[in-house]
Symmetry: C2
Subunit: 382 residues, 2 copies
């Protein structure tokens, strides 16, 4: 009968009204009723991605969207530059290797953003590179990469695309696809959009469409040219995940109503308030340039981050995330994404204080919570 | 305010209790709670597929499952035999061509089942064929292919797999994967399981796993070897469609409770009752060997099947399906799959009678409905 909290970086908590929307009777995907929903969703997605270009909807998780962003634009033997500074950067490399793309890895120590100069150098050394793959926000470390600056580097190169995994970034903070020259932007339903997992969303620039027409890698389920054709008929190439799209339609309607800046401000506020608490507890953030999607905290000396996660989950009913691979044990991660608010952040901080103390930390109980409370209690806009 | 009915062959109507289940708070996919669900679902899927082998769960629609069943078992330049007698048979060929597999097409006129002798001949002529691709039920025509007989042909060949698209067949009628030697069986959530679209389920025989280890086609999101590894840890390789899996867990629990034979009997009953009505209306079925998943009816001379579909949809709020490609206009299709019962079949028949009359047909109103009613009113088991 324990009350449960989901504060991991995806899947995230979904609002009850959205859950109810997805529980409405299923409608047929080839019907004027669903076509009308799809047409509206596609317009609203352009607003979310800040683009005039097409945004495609795939029935898959985010990794499917990443795979689609490789196979639709490249040909066997192509070269690509990969920014690799975490688990998801490594995923770009693995995808490239799987599909016979020569990955030139721009390796970055975990927790650090890539230096644009390093990518510039890689581009100079590899002028035929067909793409630069990067995370806007590397979820495994909490770091923000400077995709705006990378957009500047790639913009003048007609044969090179900037392909951005924005799965845990889009909707969290300003990331305007067109203004920043982000050719391909991938996101998923189960992050900032506060939906269940099962949808990938991908924006495609005009430059990327030209490349898609020339790309020779095999693809069928994830074939964007097929999807574009289907879009012209207000439908999808294959059976879409109807119930999730009904939820997406409602979420996007709400985002348009409040405005994207309000969504960004919401995440900024949760992140800053949480970090005020973290600082007051004498803890350090792990990423050098933290995103507003999650707060990634270094476990204090002598304490295993996994134990913090475990106590929260097993004793308090609160799901946060630990570290992965080389960061395992060293960090724990509190998500701001999902149907969460400032009271939830107080809960998370209170639970962390309690757990650290249980693990022998020297945390004064209430210090972090009070600092966050002081932040959140300030009048908005100050 | 019109009451709506969904009687198309996927997406299908979903029961309110299942919709409610999927509307429960989202749980994290890397949690003991979700692992427990996954473990139970995987056991229940073995029951559904009638197999001792692994059944994989993919976040994709059925076509993703079909693609996965090509790329996981074959290598570039391989040859495969494809039974092609409808839109979904064509999809196997397209998938093969996309991935550089030489498709030897066993072409079958639409509405006809393949003759096992033709496949036997193709196998003799192409002894190196690595796979036979077939539909258990070709949804576009309503025909059942003799997969049991094909199983006999392939069973003795250690280097050839029988790969079966059972998307609109599994759960509808007897299709025991192990007993019939079906190496790979694909289904989707939005058919006989009466769930929303977004999940593909694939069983893999031991023989198929051996092929998977040797297969050279590139795959990442749909990599079964990765999925198998994740299964050992009671998890999935990538973020699963959590809410749909919660619905799947409940559906499978109900199926185990009632028993698979009861599910098959349910579909047989709906199909037979509907067909009693169709016959009484003087209409003909389109497929030579009809499946129990859908009733596919030939439009009477002078009447366009699409008009029947349109009247039902726009005037009566009832979604059935028309024909595709070469069958367009010639047929209309009433699904028995989904949360439907015998009263719904009376509704469908009544609506068809009404529409045919509106279109100038000579249907006596009530004749089809009465015949179906007579069928359904018989004591069960007679």
């Amino acid at each position: 009968m324990q009350k449960r909290y989901l504060m991991a970086p995806g899947p995230v908590a979904v609002a009850p009204d959205i859950l109810a929307k997805m529980a409405e009777p299923i409608i047929h995907h080839r019907s004027p009723q669903f076509s009308a929903v799809l047409t509206r969703v596609r317009e609203d997605l352009k607003y979310l991605f800040q683009t005039g270009n097409d945004v495609l909807i795939l029935a898959s998780s985010g990794t499917g969207g990443m795979e689609a962003s490789v196979v639709n634009f490249l040909s066997p033997g192509d070269r690509a530059i990969v920014v690799r500074g975490g688990k998801f950067g490594e995923r770009w490399t693995e995808l490239c290797e799987t599909y016979g793309i020569e990955a030139v890895n721009c390796d970055v120590p975990w927790g650090n953003p890539v230096a644009p100069e390093d990518v510039a150098r890689a581009l100079e050394a590899n002028p035929t590179a067909k793409a630069v793959f990067v995370q806007a926000h590397e979820t495994s470390t909490g770091v923000k990469h400077p995709v705006r600056e990378l957009g500047e580097l790639v913009r003048g190169r007609p044969e090179t695309l900037l392909i951005v995994d924005a799965i845990s970034a889009l909707g969290v903070y300003e990331l305007p696809a067109d203004a920043w020259g982000l050719d391909v932007v991938v996101t998923g339903s189960q992050k900032a959009l506060s939906l269940p997992p099962g949808l990938a969303l991908v924006s495609v620039s005009q430059k990327a469409w030209v490349m898609a027409e020339k790309a020779k890698l095999p693809r069928y389920y994830f074939n964007f040219l097929k999807e574009r054709k289907a879009m012209e008929k207000q439908t999808t190439a294959f059976t879409p995940a109807v119930s999730l799209i009904m939820g997406l339609a409602e979420v996007l309607r709400q985002i348009r109503e409040k405005g994207l800046p309000a969504l960004h401000a919401h995440y900024r506020r949760l992140a800053e308030g949480t970090r005020a608490g973290v600082a007051a507890m004498g803890l350090e953030l792990y990423p050098k340039v933290p995103s507003e999607a999650i707060t990634v905290i270094q476990a204090p000396a002598g304490i295993n981050g996994q134990d913090v996660v475990k106590i929260l989950r097993d004793e308090y009913g609160i799901t946060i995330a630990g570290g992965q691979a080389q960061a395992k044990g060293k960090i724990f991660r509190i998500s701001h994404m999902g149907h969460l608010n400032e009271w939830d952040m107080l809960v998370a901080l209170a639970a962390v204080e309690r757990a650290l103390s249980r693990l022998g930390g020297k945390t004064e109980q209430g210090r972090g919570v009070a600092a966050a409370q002081a932040y959140f209690a300030r009048p908005a806009g100050n």
